[in-house]
Amino acid sequence: MVIEDEVTSNSDISNDNANAVHDNIESRFIQEQIAKVFSIWSDISKLPTVGPSFAYSQNSRSDLKELVEFGKSFLELQIHLSEYCMQINNTYVQALAKASEKAPKQYNSREDFEKYRKVAIDVFEDAFTGLYDSKEFASLYGLLQSNQFDLLMHLQKLNENNLKALNLPTRSDMDDMSKDIHELKKTVHDLIRKIEVLKINESGNLPY
């Protein structure tokens, strides 16, 4: 036993060493990659600030900021997502335990299965509806969604910058147009209504 233990512990030590070396290589690699990315961005930002490259060089810094913000939102999303999964999982495990307690000792007929199915569905229904009814879960779900909206907005901002740099219409441009068209439609509708009222007043007819 003693020998076995020693062997095991030696093996643990060598595994630990291997893991440590691996972690070290991984962390050095990540550091190198980050340094490279910053260096590329730095080069882009040194592009001439006149001519067609102007927009790219101007945008590079705000793009970098947007990427950092994206990373932050992504981290928050991960935290909330794991909390979300934990709450769902806990509810599931608790419901499963409760349903097991209520399970019959023997299944002698189809009716036994049917009865248990109903009991199990009731147990799971109560557990999950209780979870979804809680303020804690609703608030967490709200945060989870909010993080996803943030991520989308960061991506949109990055695309917006690139489209601007390429002199292409952006989402904001399209939104402005949609808003203008919508306002115009409203104005036309109101004008038509006013004309109808004027016509009715002139003719003295009922409005139908």
């Binding site: 189809r110 509806t129 909206f149 943030d150 907005m153 139908y208």
Partner: protein, 375 residues
């Protein structure tokens, strides 16, 4: 190997003294297992080959159309109809054919058979270009245009406005803002969202924590997927899981299967909701509860529910898990009408409008109430 072949091949091999008893038990169990397998196979085949499911087949005519709506006029089913037409305002969630799902469970068909002249606003699917379409547009433009169209076509000065769910809330808002025009004779609402503080549903709980401004800024319209995610939290096991068990059990009952497929089609036929409308719906109604407090504004006009003095019929479902009955019932306290009635029924949100129960218990009473107040 099918069950009969299997039973024949195993029946001639007795090897224990209680063989006969065991064989009876085994045979019963095997028959059960065989039956379940057969039903599962049939369910799979039916679901895979469901094809086009026919819904909303009560004869109607498209009489008017805008970018966001279609106005349908149903062909009368009796020779003499009530002079006051009914304009049905459907919700912005899922499709209006739930009111005409199948002939024996059709809300529209039943009202037609009671001698009413029926119009329905069938909302179209908004695109990203429609993200700025707001409550103001729905109420003051689309509904108002349809009300005027129906008045003109039927040569009447007033109509009965009849809304369902979100459409009921919009009908209430319309009746308040267009009071001075005197175009609405009666207001009949089904499960309207009025006092969200009294709404104890899962939907209301999630709505209170939704960042509607961010949703609008990032996604524009509310996408269908968001709604499906919400639906999955409503009665997740009693309806979400159990309905499929029931389908397998009843797979040999053609009427049951067809009904299941129609409802399923409706459940997964969810258009997006225009962003600005959804933002106001969530923030003003669910988060700030402005409507019942008479503080909600549309196009700078305050919606004061106490100004409503026309006859009001409010129909609520006691087991509604989408809009709590007490949330809808608040309408009767908020309006000043002397002629107002609250009808409560022991059914759910969809059961209230598309079930045998509603045909037998709800619609006769609703028809009677409207008829007594129509010309």
């Amino acid at each position: 190997m099918n069950l009969e072949t299997y039973l024949t091949s195993t029946s001639g091999k007795p090897d224990e003294k209680d063989t006969s008893t065991r064989q009876i038990i085994d045979t019963d169990i095997l028959k059960e297992v065989g039956d379940i397998t057969r039903k599962l196979e049939k369910t799979r085949d039916i679901l895979h080959s469901a094809g086009d499911i026919i819904v909303g087949n009560t004869p109607n005519e498209l009489v008017h159309e805008g970018r966001m709506y279609r106005l349908l006029h149903y062909r009368p089913m009796v020779s003499k109809t009530a002079k006051t037409p009914i304009l049905v305002v459907y919700a912005l969630i899922n499709r209006s054919y739930i009111l005409d799902l199948q002939p024996d469970k059709s809300w529209i068909r039943n009202l037609l058979s009671q001698g009413f002249d029926i119009y329905l606003i069938d909302w179209k699917t908004p695109t990203q270009l429609d993200k700025y379409v707001s409550f103001d547009d729905y109420v003051n433009n689309y509904i108002d245009t349809c009300v005027d169209f129906v008045r003109r076509k039927s040569s009447v000065d007033k109509i009965t406005l009849h809304g369902y769910c979100m459409g009921a809330t919009m009908s209430v808002i319309y009746s308040t803002l267009h009071l001075h025009c005197d175009k609405v004779r009666n207001l009949a609402t089904i499960a309207p969202v009025i006092d969200s503080d009294k709404d104890t549903t899962v939907l209301a709980n999630f709505s209170r924590y939704l960042e509607a401004n961010k949703l609008f800024n990032s996604l524009g319209n509310l996408p269908s997927e968001q709604l499906y995610a919400l639906y999955s939290t409503l009665k997740p096991f009693k309806q979400g899981v159990n309905k499929y068990f029931n389908l397998v059990e009843n797979i040999d009952n053609d009427a049951f299967v067809q009904n299941f497929l129609r409802v399923e089609k409706w459940l997964y036929d969810t258009p997006p909701i225009a962003g600005e409308t959804f933002r106001q719906w969530i923030i003003d109604i669910y988060q700030k509860n402005l409507l019942v407090a008479n503080e909600m504004k549309i196009a700078n006009e305050i919606i004061d529910l106490s100004k409503i003095k026309i006859p009001v019929l409010n129909i609520v479902a006691e087991e509604d898990h989408l809009v709590s009955p007490q949330c809808s019932a608040s309408l009767n306290d908020a309006v000043s009408s002397l002629d107002k009635r609250l009808m409560r029924f022991h059914t759910g949100h969809v059961g209230l409008i598309a079930s045998s129960y509603s045909q037998n218990n709800v619609l006769p009473k609703v028809g009677q109430w409207i008829k007594a107040r129509s010309q």
